[in-house]
Subunit: 218 residues, 4 copies
DNA sequence: TATGAATGAGGCTTCATTCAT
DNA sequence: AATGAATGAAGCCTCATTCAT
């Protein structure tokens, strides 16, 4: 254990350092996706990376840090891909559809990453994982919430609790990798389109009579 | 280890035996809900039940069997409660709403159970857990799928892939316990109503112009 | 735990007491023979006897005591059967043959007992087992030794070390149950006759030139 | 646990690895010989080797594998020594004598090994031990059987069942380590000679009158 | 006498992490 | 930077034995 005080007091991580960390993060992702969180031990991750287990501890002070980086890596990569894809959508409804479809296609194209992320989501006993995960999820939820709210202000969406809808959409999105893992032959385009349509309908302004069974709303 | 070959040849477990098993299942649920699956060791579960760890092995031949019973206990109890609540719904739309609201309220009233179930859902490395879980989940999905399909045949729902919608609803439902755990002060009635409304809208027959189906792309 | 001070200070073990002890000894024999010494736990023995595990501790102060009784039971029974069979043999050679054949036939007729005894012979880590076993074996060896020596004095046998021959015969006899277990279809009569013949030849006085490669003898 | 997938992909175990494995095998032998199979736990073996118990699992994936190696080690070493000694024997009778004497002397020179092997022979509940042991024992028996049969064809031995004689000799040989353990002061040369003589006489062709074969009885 | 639930020690194994090289 | 042997804690499970009933 030395990092943090980078190799020979350079503050910039050496190239090899960065490369190793990436390699290890990727090995961790592949391992978790394949054998599950519980069996993703240092030894197994190291085997896949074709290095020794000790080296993981050299580059990451703790297993929690490695897993944290796994989450960061996956979410960062995903965010980048998603924004690229969802860029030029005009209008809130189109943006929502674009986002959903982009996500589904991303899942289809990055199954191991998404499976690993899923595993980690439910195994947040490690404090560092939990923290990073909470941040990530809260960020994601907030963005959705904000999008819904703005859409409502622009009268593109009907009245509903942005938070509730955000949580619901999040849940529906998290079901995607699982379903793709369970039924790999799923028609991805169709799935994406159906999912987007469902939420489009769920948020669309109502024809005339605004339904309002329930009053208390936050 | 003694049971499995139940005491002598009585097939009826003694009263105390049944009580202990229940107690242990409940202790396991509470422990998993509180500290997470990975840290729910026999020692911790036994501590909560105020018995010695060895006693768990006495009543359950394997950790997998205990966890299996946990799942059975939770899903059985939930199914009973849900059917009781969703009884008198007339029509597919009403039934859908009733089911969703019943689920949300059930989650609110049984937070530890639902959290534990959630944990187990994603930690299925144990074969017995995996088996029981697969059964449960596939049953749940199938029921939803069937409900959607029948609703479509009755023209109560628009045309969509029953499987996709089932998976989506399942995902949205699984998000409920998480949200309730994250924000315990959530207005449950409102949440239930909003969620039901969202899916009601998502499945409702379209006014006239049937929305563009899905153009194969890629 | 009470025995030793027999039930209600009678010094004679009650009838039921004796019956239970016998039953338990027999259950222990059958269990050891079937699943092996290492897996012959109280629970398994009790299962076979259709009683509760606690009852074993009630009748035998310790597992060692039970095993000791197992040995006593087996060897006693065997000795009785053997002497009955080997009675009217006239002459040392005939007596040797009778003894060997009787033993082989006894093994064939009491396979579980002999297997259990064999198991115990090699698992003498328990002090009580070890003691009883040592006594039994030393007794057996001494008897053989004495028989050989007397036969030599009567010029019925050639000169050899009685101890060595006794040990050798003992070893050959112990191989019998193992072979019968391994090849249950073995022709027992043939085996008995062959074995007896081998030792008959090994001890017979030599024609004329007594071979004597080695001098030091004790 | 790490090996099994040997370090990276080197198929050659490192020097230190091999040394440790040898050391552990030897510690296991000594421990079994001293306290018996049942009490030869990892903790005790590790104590003798002055390492931590976990390290045994690091070098041997399972206790069964360690014990298997113990058997392999002992039998290999013994076979080597025996063949070296029994080389230049001319004729079947001489070969038999040489083999028996070589065995006795080997036992005398390697008491712990032979005691350990004896212990393992009768405690074959572990599947890996059982497999290795069955192979070893069946091999040994077959070799003896073959030797006897060829000797009979060459008229060097009288007519008898090769299998029975092989089993008998095996039993007599297995008694050797036990006797040496029980009476360490035994005159080994004398024991070896006596044992060899006994079997020499048991297999020798009969003068003229072929002894009565075996009359079916029962 | 008998039951069988309960305990507590001990067994094997896995693992993150350390450290000499 | 890297290795991989080594440790120590923790996990699950089995068992002889005890004890309230």
């Amino acid at each position: 254990m030395q990092p943090k005080i980078r190799s020979r007091n350079k503050s910039t991580p050496s190239f090899i350092e960065a490369a190793r960390r990436d390699q290890l993060v990727e090995a961790a992702i592949a391992t978790i996706a394949e054998v599950g969180y519980a069996k993703a031990s240092f030894v197994r991750i190291a085997e896949r990376a074709a290095i020794s287990p000790g080296l993981i501890s050299y580059h990451f002070s703790t297993k929690g840090e490695l897993l944290e980086q796994v989450i960061v890596h996956i979410t960062t990569t995903m965010d980048r891909a998603m924004s690229a894809r969802a860029e030029g959508a005009s209008g809130y409804v189109a943006a929502l559809r674009a986002m959903i479809e982009a996500f589904v296609h991303y899942c289809a194209g990055h199954r191991p990453e998404m499976l690993a992320l899923l595993q980690l989501s439910s195994n947040a006993e490690d404090p560092e994982v939990a923290k990073e995960l909470a941040r990530t999820q809260e960020t994601g939820l907030s963005e959705l919430e904000e999008m819904f709210q703005k859409g409502q202000e622009a009268r593109a969406f009907r009245a509903f609790s942005p938070r509730t809808m955000a949580v619901t959409l999040m849940g529906a999105l998290e079901a995607v990798p699982r379903e793709l893992a369970l039924r790999p032959e799923t028609d991805v385009d169709a799935y994406a389109c159906e999912l987007a349509t469902a939420f489009e309908l769920a948020v669309q302004p109502l024809p005339h009579a605004p339904r309002a069974k329930h009053k208390k709303r936050r």
